[in-house]
Amino acid sequence: MRPNLAAASDLGPAIRRRLAGFVRTLRDNGFRLGLAETRDALCLVAASGMNRPAEVKPALRALFSGRRSDWEAFDVLFDAFWRGERVKTRVAVAGANVSQRTMRSLAEPDRSSGTGGMPIDVSRGSDASDLPTDPAARREGASRTESLARTDFRKIADPEALAAAHALAGRLAKSMRARLTRRDRAARRGPRLDLRRTIRASLATGGTPIELVRRRPRHKPLRLVVLLDASGSMSLYTAVFLRFVHGVLDQFREAEAFLFHTRLVHVSDALKEKDAARALDRLSLMAEGVGGGTRIGDSLADFNRHHAARFIHSRTCVMILSDGYDTGAPERLGAEMAALRRRCRRIVWLNPLIGWDGYEPSARGMAAALPFVDLFSAAHSLESLMALEPYLARL
């Protein structure tokens, strides 16, 4: 039986306001809560008598959380709110997504104090202490050893040329997707009989099944997981590739993107922003290690361990965009590539260096990874990317 609303209205206006404030704080921190949750919470508090907030904490946690990150962040937020001090800014908890709001406030430097309206696309030195943000909201785990220099993706080429490149990448991704799905449909006919529909159709002919209805095959759409190397050695290409990845994510129904340098960052959310310029803005903030060394093996290990189960299914193509210069041990890279190979359908490695005359994949990391790669191809120009389409269509 449900506690009725009359009970909730017995609560004093003060506690109701306070609870609404708590819900607002949670929303600011990325909890997805509607009116129904607030109402249920009021009923719950009314039913429990609410002597001390700590008593209803487990109940509110079960009610308000929707995912593990919520579950883990709840304790901190609850204590911060009910122990007096209001949390105005979001409390960052390791593993939580960087909220859109933080990203935006970072992307609009004019509002911040102290930087004197310095535009965001000016590369900062290694001294990042003047970042216009609270320390807690900074990317978790960024250590001193990683290069904090931010490369601005828009600065590398002149904006017009880059916009053209993006448009091309978008078109390419779109055509790739359209052909993929059409071929998917054309290629397969369901062999199984759909008894339900057959019998329904046979009613018209007195129970004799003349028209046979076949079950339509449910196919999993091809999923593309892109791992983009954003290290210093790749910096000449990162801008174009990012645009390409953005185009792919925009057009594919199922695509995920990760960025790696010294560690792995999941960037799909940022890239799903429709507006390309804003997506790249958000990205350049997430790629704080850009320009530093590369640990491909470690990044892949991270991917295999924490993300692979969720993002990879039997029709997944993993696309790695990297020059293969790894500062870690090549054995590690080899082992992780082998593990990855067992999980997914295809691994495509795009290496911009192949476009160079006389290139041999002699970097030790690259050599270790090569046995597990299904397609090793050039990616120094958009033409070379376009040459991939027939291959992807055959998957």
């Binding site: 997805r32 249920d40 487990p58 929707g66 007195g206």
Partner: protein, 290 residues
């Protein structure tokens, strides 16, 4: 309605040792009549929650195991086509309308889990296991059933729920669930139990185990989980292992390293893990827990 402590006590009575947060979530489930979404790694006892809940309420457990390609016909209802065909043949030459009305009646309806769950005389526990394995389309459909608790069958009309089942959904995160489903549900993140709770579970579930051995096994398994393994052993594995040790009449782990090493097959289930935990590692681990 049961309060939190009663729920925890009764769960313990049927062999499920719940932490207070879970008991609270189960209490809320009854209070707000919302489904409970339990997330956690494989082997932390998500499914067991539903089984234990059915036991303490002394009601049926209706289980829907999700997999890819699950659709309405698998989960809601299906007509018994063979019988329908026979009936059509038997009534050949009769009134066509009457035949149609007859073959689309309750007699020919096969209930599937979701329909069965809302037509019980006593509210059952409906376990929707591994919802993350089902497709997003099915998730949307499930959402509709879970909010209305009614099912419309075109040939029969709308069927209203006679009782509202207690719904438990489990997921181990192979796919991200939709926000809509998450919002609809209460949430509980289930982790591996701590040493104390795991020892309690062993005592409750393994006949003939004494408290000291249970504690040692729980400590050892805790250590093993911290090793770099590709498949972390769950509670079911702990139970198997403890039962194996009791069966070999081991009373203390120290001095029984042979038996411990030989029975590791209950716990480590891949070749790499097996080769990683060498006799030396076992010695080291036993040394720490004894």
């Amino acid at each position: 309605m049961l309060d939190r402590q009663t729920i925890a006590d009764r769960l313990a009575g049927v062999g499920y040792i719940a932490d207070p947060a879970l008991a609270t979530a189960l209490q809320l489930m009854d209070m707000l009549q919302r489904p409970l979404l339990i997330e956690g790694e494989a082997g932390v006892g998500k499914t067991e929650v539903a089984k234990a809940l059915a036991k303490i309420h002394d009601t049926r457990l209706i289980r829907l195991q999700c997999h890819e390609g699950l659709d309405r016909a698998d989960t809601l209802y299906e007509w018994n086509y063979q019988r329908q065909l026979l009936a059509i043949k038997a009534r050949e030459g009769g009134d066509a309308d009457a035949t149609e009305a007859h073959i689309f009646s309750e007699t020919y309806l096969l209930e599937r889990p979701l329909l069965a769950a809302i037509r019980q005389p006593v509210a059952p526990v409906l376990l929707i296991d591994e919802i993350d394995r089902a497709d997003t389309e099915f998730e949307a459909f499930l959402l509709e059933v879970l909010s209305d608790f009614q099912v419309s069958i075109p040939e029969l009309g709308t069927i209203q729920a006679t009782t509202i089942p207690r719904v438990i959904l489990t997921s181990n995160g192979t796919r991200d669930l939709s926000d809509a489903l998450r919002r609809r549900c209460l949430y509980h993140a289930l982790d591996f139990p701590d040493v104390d709770r795991e020892a309690h579970i062993l005592i409750a579930r393994v006949p003939g185990i004494d408290a000291a051995l249970a504690l040692q096994v729980a400590r050892l398994i805790q250590r093993i989980r911290k090793e770099d393994l590709s498949k972390i052993p769950g509670i079911a594995e702990t139970l198997d292992w403890a039962a194996a040790l009791v069966g070999l009449s081991v009373s203390r782990l120290e001095g029984a390293r042979e038996a411990v090493y030989d029975t590791l097959a209950c716990v480590l289930k891949t070749r790499e893990d097996r080769s990683r935990v060498t006799p030396e590692v076992v010695d080291r681990l036993i040394g720490r827990v004894a």
